[in-house]
């Protein structure tokens, strides 16, 4: 297998694509920015960016016919996927942002509004320490509680077994999730200086050594 990794950064109209591609270019990785079916089916791994509102994001994915395609690529073909901020939230089953909307349903979970008070201001904006919960491949080679840049008003609720990292802002907030080959981070690694670049490097290292389960099984039989 060639050492070149074909990663597709999915362009669906609401993402901060340029920030992500700048980070990947700085690290020297190969990638393609696309929303075309042929690119996505050919890719070894996917990055789903996101800045914006949940409903708008899902509508754009629907219009580009990406919903079923992503389910197939990620669930059946078990391609690694990294969802960033809103890109992580759309992995959930549903969100209550501006009314109830269905998500991609790749990870069992819901997206609900953050509750603030006199001290805790919402949106949750700024740098916060993330506690990595399990030996997630994303948080390798980092200090014990690395800081990342957050900017969101809704948060991900899911089963504790798929939580990969948390942070504190009035309450415990899910900062990162992992379910097999599916990753999501609530913060913006492309805006988190050195720690963020480390996280992208970790994701690419993970892809390099990754073999889908079902391919392994067929090899054994």
């Amino acid at each position: 297998m060639s050492s070149q990794i074909d990663v597709v950064v999915i362009d669906y109209g609401v993402g901060n694509i340029l920030s992500i591609t700048n980070a990947l270019t700085t690290l020297g990785y190969d990638f393609v920015v696309s929303n075309k079916k042929e690119d996505i089916t050919r890719a070894q791994a996917l990055i789903l960016p996101g800045v914006g509102a949940f409903n708008e994001a899902m509508q754009n994915l629907q219009q580009l016919n990406l919903i079923e395609l992503l389910r197939e690529e990620v669930l059946l073909k078990e391609k690694p996927l990294l969802g960033i901020c809103l890109g992580m939230q759309v992995l959930a089953e549903e969100s209550e942002e501006n009314g109830i909307h269905r998500g991609l349903g790749l990870i069992p979970g819901r997206v609900i509004k953050l509750e603030g008070d006199d001290v805790v201001r919402i949106p949750h904006v700024g740098w916060n320490d993330v506690v990595a919960w399990k030996n997630s491949p994303l948080f390798l080679n980092m200090e014990r509680s690395p800081h990342f840049y957050f900017d969101h008003s809704y948060h991900f609720i899911c089963d504790r077994t798929i939580v990969a990292g948390t942070t504190l802002h009035g309450q415990e907030i899910v900062a990162a999730v992992q379910k097999g080959n599916i990753f999501g981070v609530q913060f913006h690694p492309e805006k988190s200086q050195n720690n963020g670049l480390r996280l992208y490097r970790n994701f690419f290292n993970y892809i390099k050594n990754y073999h889908p389960q079902h391919v392994k099984e067929t090899n054994h039989s």
């Binding site: 800045v51 914006g52 603030g116 008003s153 504190l168």
Partner: protein
Amino acid sequence: MLKKRIIANLVVRDGIVVQSIGFERYLPVGKPEVAVEFLNAWGIDEIIIADINAGIERRIPDLQMISSISKKCFVPVTVAGGIKSIEMMRELIRCGADKIAINTAAVEHPSLISEGAEVFGSQCIVVSIDVRKNSEGKYEVFSRGGRRPTGLNPVEFAQTCEQLGAGEIIINSIDRDGSRKGYDLSLVASVSDAVSIPVIALGGAGHPRHFVDALTTGKATAAAAGNFFHFCEQSVVLTKEFLTRNQVNVRHDTYAQYADFLFDGGGRIQRRSDDELQGLRFKFLPKESI
């Protein structure tokens, strides 16, 4: 715990970063790309780029500049300057802006705040409020780059913006702009108390102590400065070191350590004593004789 943010506010006029004094006088500083590269290396938490010509010339902020800046910037960038439509916002985000700050448009077409929040999310829409004391000595919101009085009370206006879906408020004191006298703490505190979204203090920073004041007495969640960061090497690192010593929780991301430095009255690092510097030298060997 969420850390307090230190933000650089770059005022850009005719394509170069300028020092702004009282919204009237402007002194050139340098190229935006260079300023951003340095600030990024010194561990700034966020950068605001205000293209102050854009509003007057009725155009979008310089897209070329934004995209070349975003290549060197791994912290969030907020873009401001004459933005008055969803299309303009979309274009800027496409060029690498992470957040959009609106000022005059928020006063003249408040519905743009809610429209923007609906499309891009509240976290993307920042309302920048320029305030000056009017002839009666009361705080008043000014639009059009500080030229047009609006009759609005800053506290009430900030609350309106929050209700419409703004994600953050920048509160800028025109009277303190470029004065180096410190932030207008009573103004910042009154707005911070009135809203539950993050508030960024701007205008007047001239000493690291001013940042401490804005983030404690002023109750701001972030403090921004423009001129203050331009004229001192490692200014961001030094400011953050000063904040840490004053029990303000900030982020340190550079390898440079300033923990053993002393500050002078002006907030600059003190020169180390001759004895100490002598001790740092390699051992002095007289010319070797054979």
